[in-house]
């Protein structure tokens, strides 16, 4: 019991703390804190599959993208849509629901898409799996960029109702709780067994394909939810938001924190986000006892250097792939 409180409570407490702190600061910084919470949701979703299965996926941002686009489009006023996106599928064109149901819809579409993609793809492992999931990302990006029936293509999707920081925080916390429940469940343990030793897992009667597919689908649903949070936090999106940059940044956050633990996913997302927004502020002068002004461009160089160094010097991440605990174990 105590273990659950620590392992689940501390990451969730950190999420809540982020939301609380976001209430007491300037508008611009509040947006950065909200983005950090969205990143937590995306990285936790990624962790559910990559962390538990040990198979790398470059395709999760496509589930984030479909979740974001669906949740965005169904909440935009139909009259606006008739004007800005007249060639949408009729069901998308006429739909008009409020934000919270749209988040559930985003999770559903993310899970469904992941299931459809996973049915053939979960037979693969290693680098072929990575390349195949990347191909899915490429296709999703390409279709969102050009197909007028599913979205505003290269144009910005705007006029989306925005939600406050608490909705984003609750969404990120739900993703974390679901991820924890899954990894403690029978299915999570089975998937972890296939990660540790595929041959032994198969000899014990575990279907690697089925467990991976289950993990992938759940992970896709959480990614879809994260996409819904993202679109309602930003208020406007373009396809370019959901491509290489987001894929790389979220994967790096996960590996930075420690790919094999939920605590690593949450910590990695928040740590990189914090560093990112601090350096961004410092480029426009920040006051920390004295006035600090960094030259433009330091942000990206520092982030890149820190991530590269941690990945090279400590490949198992900050947490070493362990859940949060009070005792220091080697």
């Amino acid at each position: 019991m105590r273990r659950i409180v620590l392992e689940l409570g501390v990451p969730v407490a950190l999420i809540v703390l982020t939301a609380v702190v976001a209430g007491g600061i300037s508008q611009a910084q509040q947006l950065e804190f909200e983005t950090a919470l969205v990143m937590v949701a995306i990285v936790v979703a990624l962790y559910v599959f990559v962390g538990n299965s040990g198979v790398i996926s470059f395709g999760h941002v496509s589930f984030v993208a479909v979740g974001a686009y669906l949740a965005g489009i169904v909440t935009v006023d139909p009259q606006t849509k008739h004007f800005t996106m007249p060639s949408l599928f009729p069901v998308l064109l006429h739909a008009h629901i409020s934000t919270v149901p749209s988040l559930a819809l985003a999770a559903a579409i993310g899970g469904l898409y992941a299931l459809l993609v996973g049915l053939p793809l979960m037979r693969l492992s290693g680098l072929p799996a990575g390349i195949a999931t990347f191909a899915v990302l490429g296709i999703t990006y390409n279709v969102l960029y050009y197909w007028q029936k599913v979205g505003p293509t290269a144009q910005t999707l705007s006029d989306i109702p925005e939600v406050g920081r608490w909705t984003v925080a609750v969404g990120a916390a739900i993703a974390t709780v679901v991820a924890y429940a899954y990894q403690r469940s029978r299915f999570g343990r089975l998937l972890r067994a296939t990660r540790e030793d595929p041959a032994a897992a198969r000899a014990s009667g575990i279907s690697i394909y089925r467990q991976r597919l289950l993990g992938f689908t759940l992970s896709g649903a959480l990614a879809g939810l994260a996409g819904g949070l993202y679109v309602h936090q930003l208020g406007l999106i373009t396809p370019d938001l959901f491509y290489l940059d987001l894929t790389f940044v979220t994967l790096a956050m996960l590996v930075f924190g420690g790919v094999a633990s939920l605590w690593g996913a949450v910590l990695g997302a928040l740590a990189i986000s914090a560093l990112n927004s601090f350096l961004g502020d410092a480029e426009n002068t920040v006051h920390i006892g004295f006035n600090l002004t960094l030259p433009n461009g330091t942000r990206l160089v520092t982030i890149g250097a820190v991530m590269a160094l941690v990945l090279i010097l400590r490949p198992s991440g900050l947490t070493g792939g362990r859940e949060f605990g009070l005792r220091w174990r080697r």
Binding site: A135, M307, A308, P315
Partner: protein, 212 residues
Amino acid sequence: MGASPATMLVATFAVSFLLQAIYLLAFDSRGRAVSTLGQLNAAFTVDGVNIRWILLVTTVTGIVLLLATALLLNRTSIGLHVRAATQDFRTARILGVRANRVIALSFVVAGALAAAVSVLYTVSNPFVEPDTGVQITIFALIGVVVGGLERLTTATLGGFAVGFVYGMFGDLLSSGQSVYLPSVVYGAVIVVLLLRPAGLFAPLRAGQVERV
């Protein structure tokens, strides 16, 4: 070293991200026109057909580098170590292959080859942007995995296959459909990987789960 392949891959992307950031800091986000070796873009005429010199230079350099790499891998003891480490890393180490040196060396060779490619590429496409390298790297990575990354020949053929499919569908698709060319190529990549996970040109028995 000693990290899992996935971490290594993300680490190399992190380094690439760092290099891009340095590029942004040193120059800026706008692309730059390149004039180095511009005279190679001039054409010569054979039997009424105009051919740019750079195409000839690229082809010859490509063949020479490919042969040199093949010789290095197949005819030297270093190459033997590299191939042994590819086949079975643990056993190779037990038999006295100095793994880290092998990895470092192949990294250096790969870097040198990539540098040669980048010169040829920028001469024939004389415009560089911060993310120029990323696009080529992704394309190359896909080609290598599709062909079969365990052998030089299969990897090379994979690169050709992706380029060939890209060109072929580029001609087959009508102008309205041609915006979906990337999707078609990625779809073909997925189909190939599903049918032949070890690579299109790899021997059939490769890629099976084994345990000793």
